[in-house]
């Protein structure tokens, strides 16, 4: 009996080693899978849907509609709920004329999503379920205007402030006759809404072209402010331009720009970033601000 004990211990030790090895492999596999999930689901760099992206929603044929307005929402998203009046307005306005068709996309099952929309009195008939992360929707609400090729032609993130709401309505051809209501704006967490504080458009007298800019340059004291992100700025920019990305302007303008400077905002883009920058600067007390037409 005693003679068998060492052998039994030996076998038990071997079994322990094998189990330990299996567990080690399990740990490594789990870590590897975790890393992959991180890359896909946003603990790594944020890949957010943007204009020009091709959108794929399961079983949704973009060709059926001239334009489709995709409302990416979540049932537990307070900003979606707070934006209900806007969505109601959009959906009820589209019937005449029918310039776009709204489609609501949720992570949650359609039955729950429809009940949610019904509670908010948003009459959207087409409600889909899709993994929002796979659509590169990083936060809700996100609204995307999609053409017949499935390409995103415009996108709006977060709960919209007065100005961006008016831009959305204008873009979709929905009449906008109600006065701006700033009371429902929020300074809390939003998906990526850095432009919610707009009241008036840029006056035509403050829009200049390149020739005027060159004339101003000869007088000096002019700052050509490029408000694109660093990546876009690095690809190509005016050699005289100063880069302050739009989302940093609120903090940096009062620290880095002087009110005595003539500031010309530009972004060499079509998404009105320079116009938003113009308004931010005027609101911050800068009086000598112009907007470069090519930069609107």
């Amino acid at each position: 009996m005693l003679g068998k004990l060492p052998k039994a211990l030996n076998i038990a030790t071997n079994i322990c080693i094998v189990v330990a090895a299996i567990l080690m492999v399990g740990v490594l596999a789990k870590r590897l899978l975790e890393k992959r999930a991180t890359a896909v689901h946003g603990r790594g760099p944020i890949n957010e849907v943007k204009i020009g992206d091709r959108l794929e929603v399961p079983n949704l044929d973009w060709r059926v509609n001239n334009q489709t307005l995709v409302l990416a929402l979540r049932i537990d998203c307070p900003y979606c709920t707070e934006s209900a009046p806007l969505y109601r307005r959009l959906v009820t306005a589209v019937s005449t004329p029918k310039s776009f068709v709204p489609v609501a996309v949720f992570d949650e099952p359609p039955a729950e999503s429809k009940a949610y929309l019904s509670r908010l009195n948003i009459p959207i008939n087409d409600v889909r379920q899709a993994d929002l992360k796979k659509l590169a929707v990083r936060g809700t609400p996100t609204l995307m205007l999609v053409n017949q090729d499935g390409v995103v032609t415009d996108v709006w993130f977060g709960k919209l402030g007065t100005y961006r709401e008016s831009l959305l309505l204008s873009r979709l051809g929905v009449p906008n006759d109600s006065p701006p209501n700033r009371s429902n704006e929020t300074d809390a967490i939003m998906a990526t809404d850095a432009q919610s504080d707009w009241v008036n458009p840029v006056p035509p007298s403050d829009v200049i072209d390149l020739d005027t800019l060159k004339g101003m340059d000869s007088g000096g004291n002019v700052i050509l402010l490029d408000v694109r992100n660093r990546k876009d700025f690095a690809i190509e920019h005016n050699t005289r331009a100063v880069n302050i990305p739009l989302d940093e302007l609120d903090v940096r303008a009062s620290n880095e720009l002087r009110s005595s400077n003539q500031i010309v905002t530009s972004c060499y883009c079509v998404d009105r970033r320079s116009a938003i920058a113009y308004k931010k600067l005027v609101d911050a007390g800068f009086r000598r601000v112009k907007l470069l037409r090519e930069g609107t």
Binding site: M190, A191, S254
Partner: protein, 129 residues
């Protein structure tokens, strides 16, 4: 014992998700509980480095800085000093409404300035001083 250790490693809670939402610097700074200001590196002083430093931070649901990335800096040693300091910052957890805490991503701005004697210091933007 070895097996218990392994099992505890495998089944320990996964790290909380971070940077699900972007927040403005104003919101980010409103949530700061503990601030450690960077010191101006001497070698950067000698080089006369000055200007804005922009650091992107990922704050996890527990309010800790999980990741940083220098977006703009006048000098590599300043970038290191600011990163070291910011990593020690603590934030009140960010919540959406009354919901559970979420991870957020935002930017922090600092200014490196040199006085008349060439002595450097790192400052917050004036609206946060």
């Amino acid at each position: 014992m070895f097996l218990i250790l392994l099992i505890s490693i495998i089944f320990r809670p996964l790290s909380l998700p971070v940077q699900e939402y972007r927040v403005a610097e104003v919101s980010l700074r409103k949530h700061v509980k503990n601030v450690v200001m960077p010191t101006f590196p001497q070698d950067a002083e000698k080089r006369g480095a000055k200007g804005p430093v922009i650091i992107q931070v990922d704050v996890n649901a527990e309010g800790n800085v999980a990741k940083t990335e220098t977006l703009q800096s006048p000098d590599a040693s300043i970038s290191e000093a600011v990163t070291r300091a910011v990593t020690q910052w603590k934030f009140e957890p960010f919540r959406i409404g009354a919901g559970t805490p979420v991870g957020v991503q935002g930017k922090l701005t600092f200014y490196c300035v040199l006085d008349a004697h060439g002595k450097g210091r790192v400052e917050n933007p004036k609206q946060f001083r």
